[in-house]
Each structure stands twice: as structure tokens, then as C-alpha cells.
Amino acid sequence: MEDDAPVIYGLEFQARALTAQTAETDAIRFVVGTQSLKFDNQIHIIDFDDENNMINKSVLLHDAGEIWHISGSPADKAVLTTCYSKTSESRVLTCAAVWRMPPEWESGSHESPDDSSNNPQTLELLCHLDNTTHGSVACVLWEPMGDGKRVISLAENHVLLWDLQESSTKATISSSATLEGKGQLKFTAGKWSPHHNSTQLATANDTAIRGWDLRSMSQIYCIESAHGQLVRDLDFNPNKQYYLASCGDDCKVKFWDVRHINEPVKCLEEHSHWVWSVRYNHSHDQLLLTGSSDSRVILSNMVSISSEPFGHLVDDDELSDNEESQQEDKGKEPLRDSIIATYEEHEDSVYAVEWSAADPWLFASLSYDGRLVINRVPRALKYRILL
């Protein structure tokens, strides 16, 4: 059985936006946004049929502009946000909008899967996250595990918290914060923490990582020079509330305990170029996925700082989320921190990696040349973690 072989899907356009459909828990589904200045951009919805090892795609038109960032609503699987660039008066501005996928896309595309000329349906615009006063939007974040009513957009040096009303057709800024400082400050990435009742946000600008309290919209911590160079991405450990992973242009992946920000908890240096994306597995937080412009995707097993270190390292108060697997894993000899696999299917820089929302053992990576690769966690490891 070539079950572990990667499945490759090629897009016609260059792409750097990838997300898993967060609200979808049955089908393994990824959403990719393309980048093209000359053609109409598309949103590819890629369904992976795990049993037959097959891919079904559907294409939706996104004619607003090339897509830089995409993210799906956690409550409604048809709703998503994109950050796209719009050229007007020889000025390029990145805007953000909330969209709804047309209800028929599923059935329609299944009948003629690769008929791109067959006028693909267009996304239905719900509302703009109007940013004319705040500048280009770097990314839009949904409230994790929320009801799909709150999003945050990071625009230049502003953090904007939006309330979506009237079935997401209207967006109003409920609060905002601005990063003040010397020089041109610009957020490059951010992540809404799933812990603390979703009241915390982490952002990256240049080499610093900052934490924000959304209730007071004030900075709660700041890791200056978290990386030697630009910080490209962040992710929160889904099971350990103070743990944060970051990656950047110094080729490193760093793990932070935001209570002790002077030194990283751990530092990986496995990539040979900038690391653009870092993702914790949603259920087994020892599994960590990173994508880099050295065209590689690396799956690491960070047992020692995960919530399942097989023993006494776990703080009692952090157990609750993962009690099940914790009990399962007891009595086994501990795995050591290691690289599980390096995936070299990409030929170009990998800008996005994402775990599937439905299957915790599956992930996708997207490289700039439009190649989407779906891989699985090696079976041996999977059984080792499960059994």
C-alpha cells in the first residue's frame, strides 16, 4: 500500500495563501488562493478523499485581486476572509474582505471537476473590512473556536478588532490598538490565542513578537529580537497556553514560554533558508510542521516541550485538554525530540503549511509555483503516539 505517498495537486497560478477549512470536520478540505496580476484569481477548494487517495477540486473566482492571505471562519464553513491586493491609480493596496462561497459550489464542481473554462462561480462578497485609513492588511484572524462573529485584521501597525453583524454583512471596528515606535512599523504576522477565553493575540513585526490583551487592547509582553531577522509566522500551542512557536528569516524555529521571554525554550535550526510558516498539530502538539523557502517541509516531533512528554514534565493545570492521550501514552518509553521527516516534493519556496482540520494526521503544503502537496504523518509514529 502506497498509502504514505504524497498526493500532489498543481495550480495554474502562483499561490501563497492556504488554509484548512476550520469549520469542516468531516471532509479533509483545504482552500488555496492564487496570486496572479494578469488573470482572474481563483480560490481552489481541494477535497481529499482519504480512502481513494484522490483529490477533488472546485474553483471559485476571486476577481478582487491576488490573494495574499486566506482564512476560514470557525463557525460557518462557507465563510472565509481573504487579504488581496488591489491596484488603483498605480498604487497597490492590500485589502481584506469577508466572502461567502456560493451554496452550489459543491455539487456543481463535482460534475465537471477540471472544466475551468466553464465559468466558475464567483464568491459572494459579504463585507469589506474597510482599511482606507489604516493601510495594507497583512492578515485577518478569526476568533478561534468562536461563533464567527469576531475577526482581527492586522493593517500596517494597527490591530483592528471587528464585529461582524447581520450575518457577516456588516463589519464595524469594535476596538483597535496601534503600535507606536521608531521607524516604519508593520505587522507581518499574527495569531489569535485559543487560550484565556480568546482574549490574547500575538503579533510579529520585524524581529519582535508582541502579545496583546484584547480586552484592554494593550501590549502584555514583547519579545524583542525574538529572531535574528524578520519573524515570518507564529503559532500557539493548542494545548499549552503559554507556549508559542515562531519562525523567521534566520532559518530558525523558536519555542517560547511567554512567561519567560528572555530565552526561547527551544530552538530548531533545520531549514537552510527562511522559514515562512509554522503550525502545531491541533491535537498532538508535539507534531510541528514548518515550511521554508528552501523548498522543504519539515515535520518535527517536539516531545519534550509538548503537552504529552510522557510523564512528570506536564504541569497539572495544563493537562485537562489532553487528558485522554495523556493517559494513553503513559508507561511508554519517551520519544525524543527529532525530525520525523523532511518532505522534498516542492521545487519552489514553500510559503504555507497547514494541518487538516478534520484528520489530525494529514497536512498540506503550498509552494509558490502553485504546487499543493498533501502528506500524512508516518504510520509508525502515528501508532506510537496513539497506542
Partner: protein, 762 residues
């Protein structure tokens, strides 16, 4: 007449026969009885007892002729005659003897009679003498008794006189401070006085003596207590006091306490080992010697022996010596610890040697004492400490030289604009370090010199050499160099290059040199100098070399990274800060590109001074032409792009994908080899990749794309010569232009010829 008168012609048998007959007569028949009996049975044997003349005669008559008979008869006659004469002679002789014997006896008889008379006379005389003698002794008896009595009285009187004079004499002695005499005099009188103390006059004398002796003892004690007196005086005092029946224990204590106070005075003034050795230890030895002489080795005289003093005294002495030595040692140790300056080790070694040697004297005096072993421990500790100090001194030296190098690197860059001296700096740095190490080794070597007493202790023969010097000093230092080098990589990584890249390069070369030759040289040198015998496992040369190589590799990688980042930063800023959509038509190459090429060239020079050229892939002689074709092809793609055929982006994708399939994957931040080309390739890779990634994020207008074209062509013109494989540069630059074209709103590329003109112009 005697037997000698027998005719000389008589045959032996004849004489024999005479003999045997005489023997027979005198009853001596011991010889040959059996033969005689055998003979005697023969009746014809003329000499045998059973001789039968008839048989014999008959036999003769029967056997012999007439003539023979005649002869036999005459022979017989002759024999008979000779026998007769023999007989006669014998008789005569015996007669004579009888006569002379009778005469003698008669004469004796007369003589005895005379003697008897004389004896009678003698006995009478003796009786008279006895009588006289008795009478004389009787008369002399009285006088003799008187004389004996008189002589007894005389001696008694003399003794009495001595006694009566004793106080005066003692006083006089006291005045003259002849304590010894006084004590001996008193000792002689003491018993007598004791015995006759019931008599008032003697009692007086005794009391007098007591007073005086008390005074004397007082004086002695005074003297004893007096600090000024020397150890010899002191021992004299103690001896006298002992004789005066002072309690020995108290004396021991006092003696020791006194010695202690004096020695401690020494200790307080103890400034340096030299003095300590000369004064303290020798005084201590003196004290021990005199003490032993006084208390321990004394012939055990009655009362002293009974008190078991030697044992007690010995114990006290040990305690005394130990406590004092402990104080001394602590002082010495403090002093040694103060000896931080590493300038002249020989002084310290000499001092330690002297210290150790003096302590040997104590060993000889006091065999059971732990003092010398403690002393050796101190020396060992001092040696260990010394090694540590040398190590830290070496480390400081290393840091200082690095600071110097850093300054030297900074200075000429301002002046000349290149690290022209870095080669010289490297050699001078490595020479400095090597010389310093050598001098340290030489200094440490003093510890094991032959004329140093402690050098033959097992520690200095074995552990000191292998664990101390080799591991603790040399290996640690090399490890330190590697480690500190590695630290340069780490510390600089996060804080944006606080270490000048030139220093990284220099250190990398230094480590590499260490790996290739220096380490093995140093270790061989050490092993030879110290004749290291490895009882314990030591770090092998290969491990150290591997470590050095690793450090060199890390440093060089880091150098590449730092330099790459510096150039990357320039490129990134230049791409990010420009508005590429609204830019003007390119008229010349952007300054930042010129800067990149300049920097790359200076890096090339910098690396070239320290590292070899390295191999590059053979490039075709018409490389510029080939480049041209590559560019024209990419230009063609771009030209097709505006035609809006839907398949066009697919084609470009396909083309670049195919290209990638056939080119090797490029690791950007990958380890480099130890040569110039590899280093430069690494730096250029990093820079161009950054350029590519930055371009991909931006959006370009028509002139933006053209500017990128110009810039890339310019880079292409100058960068290919630095790298091992020029295709790499081509590939990356192609990617950049390709990406820019993709990100261009109005992709109309510039004519290749125009690009060339612009590039050549500036």
C-alpha cells in the same frame, strides 16, 4: 752382656726364637699362638713343645745322607753352643742388676733418716713463729681500730663541711649564673639533707638550700619565660629544671608554649616562604630536636621513667607540631594563593622546593608526623592551582590578543579599505599564542625539574604531567579556543554581528590551522617535555582536531552567513523601500548593486588572503555569450506573456519547473568548504536568494521590471567570476527576473542591447 752380643751371623729365625722363648718365660704369648700350636704339633719341630728327639733323629737318619747328617750335627752343635752362651749372658746381666738395686736401696735408707731430722727441726721453728705472730697481732689490735675510726671521721667531716658550705656555694653559683654547677651540687647534697632533716643544724642547711634552689629555679623559670633566650639556652634551662624535680608535664607544656609563642612570632612576621623556611621551619626543627633530647631520648632515670614521660611528651610534641604546622600551612597556602602573577614561575617553584625540602627535615626528626605529607599536599595543590592560573592567564592572553587583532582589523579597514594585513595578523596571532603556550609549558616544566625535591613524588611523575599539564592546561586551552570561537558564532547570530566578519574568518583559519598541524605539534611537544605516561585515558589528538575542525567549519559558515546577511540586508532594503510601480525608466544600474559587487569583491580579497582559491567548475570561455542566450530566452518568455494566451503562465511554470528538475536543489545556508570559491558562492547564494524572495513580495510596474533586469544583468556580469558554478548565478538571476516579470503589472521587458549599454556605462 746383652742380646746385642749375639753373633751377627745368627739368622733372624734364631733371634726370633730367642725372643719367643723370653716371651714364653715372661708369660707373653700373645703373638701367633695358633701358628705355634700348628707348629708345635709337629714332633719334628725342634723348637716345638712336642718335640720328640727320637722321632726327629729317626727321621734325620732315614732322610739324610751321611754328609747331610754331619752337616746337621755340626749345625746343631753350633746352635746348642750359641744357646748356651745366650743363657750365660742373661744370667750375668740379671745378677748385675740385682746387685745395683741392693746398693740403691741401702743408700735411700740412709738419706731418709737425715730428712726426718730436718723435718722435726722445721716443725719446731714453725711453732715458734706462730707463737710470735699471735703475740704481735695481739699488741697491734687497738691502734688499727683507732685509725679506721679516724679516717671515717675525716670523710664525714669533709662531707659536713660540704654541706655547711653548700648555701654559700650555691649563692655564689647563683651570682655567677652557673646554674648547672649549682644544680649538680644541690643534687649531691639533697639526699643527705633529706635523711638528716630531723637534726636542727642540717635542717637549717636544708632550708637554706631550699631557699636558694627555689631562687635558682625562679631564676631559671624567669629565664625560661624570657623571650630573648635562644632555644639552646632554653633547653639548658629545662634540663636543669627537670633535674630539680620540676613536674615534667608542666615543663613540657611550658616548653612547648614558650616555643609556640616564639614560633608564632615568626609566623606573624612570615612574609614569604623563604623566610618561613629559613626561620620558622628551622626553629621548629630546633625545638623538636631539643625537645626530643630533653624529654624523649633521655636515659630513663628512675623516677622520670616511672612517670612514663616519653610517651606523654611524644604525644604532646605531635599535637604541638601539628597545630603549629597547620597554622604555618594555612599561612603558606594563603601566601601561595596570593601568588597570582604568572610572570616568573621559577621563583614559586624554588620557594615550594625549599618549603618541601625543609619539611623533609621534620620527617627525619619526627617520623610519625603527618606534617610532611600535608606539605606535599600543599605543593600539589599549589601546582594544581598554578596550572589553573596558567590556563586562565592563557585564556586572558588569548582574549587580549583577539582584542588586539580586532583593533588591528578595524584600523586598516578605515585607512586602506581592505584587510590587507589579515594574513600577517593570523601568523602573528598564532605565533603569539604558540609562544605563550610554550613559555607556559616551560614554566610548568619547572615543577618536574630533576633538582626539585618534590618532582619525584608520584603525583608529579604521573598525574601532574598527564592530567594536570596535558589535560588541564594544553587540552583545556585548545578546547577553550574552539569553544570561544563557537561562542562568537552564537553570540553574533542573534545580535546582528557584533563580531567583525574578518575576525570570524581569521579565527576560522586559525582553528583550521590548529586542526591540520598545531594541535598535534603542541601535544607532541607536551608529551616530549613531560614524558607523559598515560595511566588514565587522555583526550586523543584526533578528537581535538575534530573539535577544531568543527569550530573552523562553524566559524566559516557563520562568516558566510554574516557576510551574506550584510549584503542581503542591502538588497532587501533596496527592494522593500522602493515604489516599484511608479518608478522611472532605468537609466543606470542602481547604486546598491554596485555596492553589492564592491562588497563581494572586497570579501573576495579578504577571504583570498586566508584561504586557498579552491576548485571551480570549468566554465566555457564564452560564458558571457551563454549568459546572453539565457537572458534572451527569459526575455522571450516575458515577451510572450502579454499575449494573454491562457496557457502562458502554465508554460512559464512548466519551463521553470523543467529547469528545476535538471538543476540540483540549492541549499542556501549550507556548510561551505575551506576555500575561497566555496565561501564566495555561499555568500552570493544567500544574497541572491534574498533578492528573489523580496522581489516576489513586491509588485512591479513596467520600469520596475526593467530596473530589475538591468540590476540582474549587472550582477551577472560581475558575480560569476566568484563562484564555483556560474550556472548557479545564472539560475538565481533568471529566477529573480522571472519572478519580477510575474509580479509586473505591465510586463514589457527592456531590450537586451539597451541593458548591456546601461550596464557597461555604469
Amino acid at each position: 752382656m746383652s742380646s746385642a752380643t749375639t753373633p751377627p751371623d745368627s739368622d733372624p729365625t734364631g733371634r726370633r726364637r730367642v725372643h719367643s722363648m723370653l716371651k714364653l718365660y715372661y708369660g707373653l704369648n700373645e703373638e701367633g699362638t695358633a701358628a705355634e700350636q700348628a707348629e708345635s704339633l709337629d714332633p719334628c719341630d725342634i723348637n716345638g713343645p712336642h718335640f720328640d728327639p727320637e722321632v726327629y733323629l729317626n727321621k734325620l737318619r732315614k732322610d739324610c745322607s751321611l754328609c747331610e747328617l754331619m752337616d746337621h750335627e755340626s749345625c746343631m752343635v753350633k746352635q746348642i753352643r750359641s744357646l748356651d752362651s745366650d743363657m750365660q749372658t742373661l744370667v750375668y746381666e740379671n745378677y748385675n742388676k740385682f746387685i745395683s738395686a741392693t746398693d740403691t736401696i741401702r743408700k735411700m735408707k740412709n738419706d731418709f733418716k737425715k730428712m726426718e731430722d730436718e723435718m722435726d727441726c722445721l716443725s719446731a721453728n714453725m711453732a715458734a713463729i706462730t707463737e710470735f705472730s699471735a703475740r704481735i697481732s695481739g699488741t697491734l689490735q687497738d691502734q688499727h681500730a683507732q685509725i679506721t675510726k679516724l679516717s671515717g671521721v675525716h670523710t664525714l667531716l669533709r662531707k659536713l663541711q660540704f654541706l655547711f658550705e653548700l648555701p654559700a656555694r650555691l649563692n655564689k653559683c647563683l651570682e655567677l649564673q652557673a646554674y648547672a654547677q649549682a644544680v649538680s651540687a644541690h643534687r649531691r647534697a639533697r639526699c643527705v639533707l633529706q635523711q638528716y632533716s630531723h637534726m636542727p643544724s642540717f635542717r637549717g642547711i636544708q632550708d637554706d638550700c631550699h631557699v636558694i634552689m627555689e631562687q635558682l629555679a625562679q631564676q631559671l623559670r624567669q629565664k625560661f619565660r624570657d623571650g630573648g633566650s635562644s632555644a639552646k639556652d632554653l633547653s639548658e634551662c629545662v634540663e636543669l629544671l627537670l633535674q630539680l624535680d620540676e613536674p615534667a608535664e608542666e615543663l613540657c607544656d611550658k616548653f612547648l608554649s614558650h616555643a609556640q609563642s616564639r614560633l608564632e612570632a615568626d609566623l606573624q612576621g612570615l612574609e614569604f616562604i623563604d623566610r618561613g623556611c629559613n626561620e620558622f621551619v628551622s626553629s621548629l626543627c630546633l625545638v623538636i630536636a631539643s625537645y626530643q633530647e630533653l624529654f624523649i631520648n633521655r636515659p630513663q632515670e628512675g623516677e622520670l621513667a616511672s612517670k612514663n614521660i616519653p610517651e606523654m611528651a611524644n604525644g604532646k610534641l605531635h599535637v604541638f607540631v601539628d597545630t603549629l604546622a597547620a597554622r604555618y600551612f594555612s599561612l603558606v597556602e594563603r601566601r601561595i594563593q596570593e601568588e597570582k602573577g604568572v610572570g616568573d614561575n621559577s621563583l614559586l617553584v624554588r620557594a615550594l622546593d625549599r618549603f618541601h625540602r625543609r619539611l623533609q627535615a621534620i620527617t627525619k626528626l619526627l617520623p610519625g608526623s603527618a606534617v610532611p605529607s600535608h606539605g606535599t599536599e600543599i605543593v600539589v595543590r599549589a601546582a594544581r592551582e598554578r596550572i589553573k592560573q596558567y590556563l586562565s592567564a592563557l585564556q586572558t592572553f588569548y582574549h587580549d590578543s583577539l582584542t588586539d587583532v580586532r583593533q588591528a582589523l578595524a584600523a586598516p579597514r578605515l585607512a586602506v579599505g581592505g584587510a590587507s594585513a589579515s594574513g600577517e595578523l593570523l601568523t602573528s596571532l598564532s605565533n603569539f599564542i604558540l609562544n605563550q603556550l610554550k613559555s607556559v609549558l616551560a614554566s610548568v616544566h619547572l615543577f618536574t625539574a630533576k633538582d626539585i625535591t618534590f618532582s619525584n613524588k608520584p603525583y608529579f611523575k604521573g598525574e601532574f604531567c598527564s592530567q594536570g599539564v596535558r589535560e588541564g592546561l594544553v587540552v583545556s586551552f585548545i578546547k577553550f579556543i574552539c569553544q570561544s570561537s563557537r561562542q562568537y558564532c552564537e553570540s553574533a547570530g542573534d545580535r546582528g554581528g557584533s563580531t567583525p566578519p574578518a575576525l570570524l574568518l581569521l579565527l576560522s583559519r586559525l582553528c583550521l590551522d590548529y586542526e591540520t598541524s598545531t594541535i598535534s605539534y603542541i601535544l607532541t611537544l607536551t608529551d616530549e617535555q613531560f614524558l607523559v605516561q598515560h595511566h588514565t585515558p587522555v583526550t586523543p589528538v584526533t578528537a581535538l582536531c575534530a573539535e577544531a575542525r568543527e569550530a573552523a567549519q562553524k566559524l566559516l559558515n557563520h562568516y558566510v552567513k554574516v557576510q551574506g546577511l550584510i549584503i542581503s540586508q542591502m538588497l532587501r532594503k533596496s527592494v522593500e523601500t522602493r515604489d516599484w510601480v511608479n518608478t522611472i525608466e532605468p537609466r543606470n544600474v542602481r547604486a546598491v548593486m554596485k555596492r553589492v559587487v564592491e562588497d563581494t569583491t572586497s570579501i573576495d580579497v579578504q577571504v583570498g588572503l586566508l584561504y586557498e582559491e579552491g576548485v571551480r567548475k570549468a566554465h566555457s570561455s564564452d560564458s558571457s555569450k551563454r549568459t546572453f542566450s539565457v537572458y534572451s530566452s527569459s526575455r522571450q518568455q516575458i515577451r510572450y506573456a502579454p499575449s494573454y494566451t491562457p496557457s502562458a503562465p502554465m508554460d512559464t511554470n512548466l519551463l521553470s519547473n523543467i529547469h528545476k528538475l535538471f538543476s540540483e536543489r540549492i541549499d542556501i545556508f549550507s556548510p561551505v568548504e575551506f576555500n575561497k570559491v566555496s565561501v564566495l558562492t555561499g555568500i552570493i547564494k544567500i544574497s541572491l536568494k534574498t533578492f528573489l524572495e523580496c522581489v516576489r513580495i513586491r509588485t512591479f510596474g513596467r520600469y520596475g521590471l526593467q530596473q530589475i533586469q538591468v540590476d540582474c544583468h549587472y550582477l551577472q556580469m560581475y558575480l560569476w567570476r566568484f563562484v564555483s558554478d556560474e550556472n548557479l548565478v545564472h539560475f538565481l538571476l533568471d529566477e529573480i527576473v522571472g519572478s519580477a516579470a510575474h509580479r509586473c503589472l505591465d510586463p514589457s521587458p527592456m531590450e537586451q542591447s539597451v541593458i548591456e549599454v546601461i550596464c557597461e556605462r555604469g
